[in-house]
């Protein structure tokens, strides 16, 4: 059995006694494109940084390519790419110099890929970084993370500063990167539509825990909105199992439920004496319902 690229077991992190992540377990396999969702301060960046080994966990363990992430050897780092939330470029250098410096650390570097992407993303290699716009800098940061064709690419809010065209180009590139099935991508984003379009696995971080992890279809099947219509007024307590939110209006109600299965539909309809219509939710709706 092959070793997963990332394996975390009961991972936890606290800063000065304040819990930021608690009891988080997951794995990332080759071919995975994982979208990480969560509100501000939910612990997404901490989660990604623990995977990268920037800081030791206060509980549990996380391994990358079979090594503890906090003690990642150089050979493993050469298989890793990372785009931070805020770029960390050297203002005084030109884009070409910055690329040259970063490229020199890796045993292999795909100049053709970087030149092609630079042209496509309109990043001028001769331009000095301090003169670049925020979007240009973000594109350059992404280029720097792609040049060595990493097996595991981790991106923290990579598209926040990009315009829609650049965002689409970037997403296509990510799909290309992961298309060969040997690579994996983990990225966090507030743009839920991008996650929906791109990810084949979703992690939702809520209240410092991994509230949901699984493929997108399972998530859509699991969390649904029920439209309940009865001939007479519905009871005060609807008693729908795993309800996340309930809105009642006399004989009708709208309920968002978690862990839904079609087998429950008849049971609910019979108990309430009502018609139950199931509405699948978009990822954005699911995210909003979970954080209502």
């Amino acid at each position: 059995m092959s070793v997963p690229y990332v394996a975390a077991h009961r991972l936890g992190k606290a800063f000065y006694g304040k819990t930021v992540l608690e009891d988080v377990s997951f794995s990332v396999e080759p071919g995975d494109i994982v979208g990480v969702l969560g509100k501000n301060g939910a612990g997404k960046t901490t989660l990604l940084e623990l995977v990268l080994g920037f800081s030791p966990p206060t509980a549990g363990r996380v391994e990358v390519f079979g090594h503890p992430s906090f003690r990642l050897p150089g050979a493993a780092k050469a298989r890793l790419g990372f785009v931070p939330q805020q770029d960390e470029l050297v203002n005084s250098l030109t884009a070409a110099d910055q690329i040259g410096v970063i490229a020199s650390f890796y045993p292999r570097w795909d100049d053709e890929l970087i030149n092609g992407l630079s042209r496509a993303w309109e990043v001028d290699p001769s331009e000095r970084i301090k003169g670049m716009s925020v979007g240009q800098r973000q594109k350059l940061s992404i280029l720097l993370a792609l040049g060595h064709r990493p097996d595991l690419l981790i991106l923290d809010e990579p598209v926040a500063s990009l315009d829609p065209v650049a965002r689409r180009q970037f997403l296509e590139q990510i799909i290309d990167v992961a298309a060969d099935g040997r690579r994996a991508v983990v990225f966090s984003s507030h743009i839920v539509s991008d996650v929906e379009r791109l990810a084949n696995k979703i992690w939702i971080v809520k209240d410092h825990r991994l509230y949901w992890q699984g493929d997108f279809d399972s998530l859509k099947d699991s969390i649904v909105r029920l439209h309940i219509r009865a001939a007479r007024a519905l009871p005060d307590a609807l008693a729908v199992p795993n309800a996340l939110s309930v809105q009642r209006n006399g004989s009708t109600a709208t309920v968002v439920v978690r862990d839904w299965s079609d087998a429950l539909r008849g049971d609910v309809a019979e108990r309430l004496g009502a018609e139950v219509e199931v509405e699948p939710l978009t990822l954005e709706d699911i995210f909003l319902e979970l954080h209502r």
Partner: protein
Amino acid sequence: MKAVARLMLAYFTGTRLLAATTALGVVCIAGGTAALLYLPPLVAQHGLPSRFTLAQETAITMLPVAGILCVVFGASLMPVVFTRLATSHYAHVLPYGRAKLLLSAFCTVAVVAAVASGTASLYYLQTPVPIGLVFERAFTVSLLAYTLLYIVLWFIGRSHSIGKLVGLAAAIAALVLPLRFVAAPSTSLVGPWIACALLWAALTAGFLSAPRIAPITARLKHSLAERFGAASYRGGGREIDFMLGTANPWPLALGQIAPILIAGYYLRGFVPVGFAPNDATPHPWLFFMTILSVVSGAMTSVAATRSRALWLRAHWTREELFARVERAFWASACFPLGVLLVALVVVGSYLAMPTRTLAFGLGLVSVGTALATYLGLLITAAIGWRIAVLAVATMLALMIASMYVATPATPTTTIVALEGGLAAAALVYRQLAARRWAHLDWMLCRPDSATRAAA
């Protein structure tokens, strides 16, 4: 080694200005070497008959020095790039990132020290002192000195008063130590070697273990802050001074005493090449005091970015703003300048400097502060070619003037003309700065995060 070499290339040639500075340094060193090797001995400044004028001899003597300075400052991007990469995620994500970064810094310092030592050895070609011994001594001490100097550049870049003080101390040490150890062959090299080894061992240990130490120090800081409360600003003064960072000039003013004492210790018994042991030698003192005067004046280089918030809050025109900023910085610069003048008088009296040298030295130090103050006020956007050339030319002019003032053979009229010319240059800089401020483009003059934090 590929990454180390690429990083070093970026340090020396990362910007067009630095690439040109490094190239200029190489040309100056090559030209100076040829001049010292193939031209007749330079003796005019000792009052002996020479084939050259005093000005020509001074220029030939200073050429390799200027070359060394250019090479040293040609690599001044090293602290910037190093700090940026070391404090970013790259240090962790890049394969062997920390080790390669540290190695690139060490190799850069070693290359600069080797160039400086090789060039310094040239001055001893026509003396009985063995060149190999001179190089060995110069290299040992230069390695230590330039390590300190680049730490200085990093501290100065952070724009804190404490950083400036440490910077001053290290700059003096960097410039004085090699002279001391080369000029006094009996001095043991064990001390500098141990110091150098300890310094690099500490840097290596601290840098490589930073990821492990960081959580511990963060916890310690947090518990200290909880126990004693967070640090608070205890300064006073007007709002304009607070925003410009001129509210409390005393730390910088009094802090200058430390590097002067260090210089005093190392310059004890120091005799430049070609001077008799009993000669009064004000050259190094005037040289260092002039450099100190420039550093204290150069604080104005952050004035424009720090004034942005003032302009947004106060209803002043750009002209009014310039006048107030100029006044605030002069009020602040008077303290370090006063301390420098007193120190020069004390040193001059102790060394029994000729009254004329001391009097003109006081004038030169004052003019140095004025030049640096207005040169700093000229910086209203990124440092471009013109400002850089002006700054280098000004520094060279001040250094040459200090040599002239310290040389007894220099006619008084020459010194008056030199200092008068420098004072006139300061006035011209003031006019240029006032004109720049009248058309100050705030979009080109945004404070970076460090400056914002400091301001």
